[in-house]
Amino acid sequence: MVRKFSVLLVLVAILVAVVPAFAQEFQIPEIVEGKTNVAVVLIGPINDGGWSQAHYDGAVYMKENLENANVVYIENIPEGTESEQVFRSLAAKGFDVIFGTSFGFMDPMEAVAEEFPDSYLIHVSGYKDNGENFGNLMGAMEHMKYLAGYLAGQRAKMDGENVLGYMYTFPIPEELRLGNAFMIGAKKTCPECTMIVTPINSWHDPILEKEAAKALFDKGAYVVFTGADTPAPAEVAEEYAEGNGKWGIPYDWSGSCVSPRCLTLPYWYWGPIYTSIVEGIVDGTYTPGRHYFDGDAKGLGLVGFMEGEELPEGLKDMPEEVLEYVRNYIADIEAGKINRFDIFAGPVLDNKGEVVVPEGELMEDADLDTFDCTEMGCKYGMHWWAEGIEAELP
């Protein structure tokens, strides 16, 4: 019996060791000689309806708009050592530009960039770069979150509601920045509105996201927006038929605002950004570094307000001046008249009534992405919750 059992244990051990190894044999695409070879590495599937799909659209855009380029994508790459193998294989095959689109790809990409000086590795999200062939890329989504908050506040005000909800992913500066931008926007249309929040500690967990949205709605939130991948808040909102119902604001991918209870959706439009980076690298005019694009790069969108988009159901009965404000704001950021620092222009109050940014002052780049200014040398930082948010600091 004991012998049999030990044989069994060995079998199980082999199975556990071998099966994932087979599962992780990623197909590395081939390069095409004489063309600019570009690869986009995705953490999720190309049809996740969120973050990865938005990047996949960016790859498709490059394919259609870049001259003499071979654009490929690889999906479902887990963070950590597996991703390092993928980046190394891509660089070894001779890919000229490699985009990695998940926070956890940062260190593997940095290591591979060191080994392959002829390949350019561009990391989306994260904070590292080497100033030569490893660059960092992110954009000012706070604009679109601000506008989404502006519309959510208007919706609540019109319907006699005053609680908003935010499900944020992790206690990191990015999530506080986006939540604060949303609340600052909401206060413009609904000064009495407050916002309850919940950390879900995941970027992508569809069922957990639905449960968290439900918990916020049950606690009284009227409009819930998310920092995670799936359109859970809008889908869960459909379950509330009583009274005014509920509204959700999903994130990331323009095609995910299909639910009738989707108020609007701030999304990424990576295509033009990617294309200009690759063109810049080919011309020799682009130096990888910290690249944080603002609204004028046209890499951001808000469902209902971009070219060829119709207003979602929940915005149709809003007063024209509210919609006009949003349209003008988008026109202004695209024209470069407003930048991301204008959102946090003083006076900015936190939720304890303290002044974060005094009248007439502006934040700087380092403030937007830093908790602890003593380490990073910034002035205000992002370790505060805006007035009206019912939360404590992480």
């Binding site: 199975l15 206690p171 918990a215 049950d218 606690k219 359109p231």
Partner: protein, 328 residues
């Protein structure tokens, strides 16, 4: 009201585990280990979602989900009943097959979101006229039909196992297949039946996720380990459906409680400050709670089972061949 919301979410979350857990109990009571619940559930979730989309009827989807998982159950049954191979290895392998097949078949299903017909929900708006308690009961009873089906299934399963003749046969082949055989019961035939039935039930559990309670297909995150929690629940339940149902619903309560504890500034109507509100980083520990609790309960359960001499069916994991009693 908050209590009713908590219980409502617990019923929904527990139901998802309930079917897989009952499937596990039926299969294991017959003497066949069932470690493939996750695979069955995932396959059930995929097939029911896609069948519901293509046929336009969620009920056909539910049926197809159960059938698909049952077919996978036949594989497990052949390997460990007819071929008498090791049931643990077969269970793990079947689980991998189920997971792999559903990931391949489900690769393009994510784009169907919002267009797939779902199983109906039940609500009693009349309750709203009864004041705050009516409002609470309305919240509690506004559930997917699968929650009701699962709830009704618990006493039926208990009654079947303990009070009926076929249920006695089921217990007999799991406890003492030799004696059952001597009584003229077709041991291996019945083991086939319950292995396949258990798979079908787990498949229904998967369908309860994808076309009812959470609605959607999200690759392996659709079940996200819930099948393995079912495996744990079967042991916690000591192979008893009612006990298992308590476990499943309690797990549902804990899952929702974790979320409820993250949001408010104070607890118990303002009596105490909420530590998880004051320190959002503590929520990482909070999320361990359901799993930590499972461990604690298993330890307590194992001790009490030892004291009362109850526990796993005696013949669990042992293939049956006539005339080979005692030969391992």
């Amino acid at each position: 009201m908050e209590l009713f919301q908590l219980l409502a979410a617990a019923l929904a979350g527990g139901t998802v585990l309930l079917f897989g857990m009952l499937g596990g109990i039926f299969t294991e009571r017959s003497g066949v280990m069932n470690l493939a619940i996750e695979g069955y559930m995932l396959l059930g979730a995929t097939i029911s979602y896609s069948a519901s989309a293509s046929s336009g009827s969620p009920w056909i989807g539910l049926l197809m989900g159960a059938v698909a998982a049952a077919i996978l159950g036949i594989l497990h049954a052949i390997i460990c009943i007819s071929l008498k191979a090791d049931q643990v290895v077969s269970g793990l392998a079947t689980n991998f097959v189920g997971t792999g097949v559903s990931l391949v078949l489900g690769a393009n299903l994510t784009s169907l979101v919002g267009t797939v017909p779902l199983l109906p929900s039940v609500a009693f708006p009349k309750l709203l006229e009864l004041g705050w308690i009516g409002e609470g009961l309305y919240t509690l009873t506004k559930q997917s039909i699968m929650v009701y089906i699962g709830f009704v299934l618990i006493p039926i399963a208990q009654w079947y196992l303990t009070k009926t003749r076929p249920g006695m046969h089921l217990r007999a082949i799991g406890e003492n297949p030799e004696a059952a055989d001597a009584m003229g019961i077709n041991v291996n035939g019945l083991r086939y039946v319950y292995t396949i039935l258990g798979a079908a039930l787990a498949g229904i559990g998967g369908a309860a996720i994808s076309i009812a309670i959470y609605s959607g297909w999200f690759s392996e995150l659709t079940t996200n380990g819930r099948g393995w929690i079912c495996v744990g629940l079967v042991i916690f339940a000591q192979w008893n459906p009612v006990r298992g149902a308590f476990g499943a619903y309690f797990f549902g309560i804990l899952s929702r409680l974790v979320l409820d504890l993250k949001i408010p500034a104070t607890l118990f109507g303002g009596l105490v400050a909420n530590p998880f509100f004051l320190h959002p980083n503590y929520t990482f520990f909070l999320e361990m709670l359901p799993y930590f609790f499972t461990l604690v309960v298993m330890i307590i359960g194992a001790n009490s089972a030892k004291a009362k001499h109850i526990g796993a069916p005696s013949a669990l994991g042992r293939p049956y061949s006539r005339g080979e009693k005692g030969k391992q």
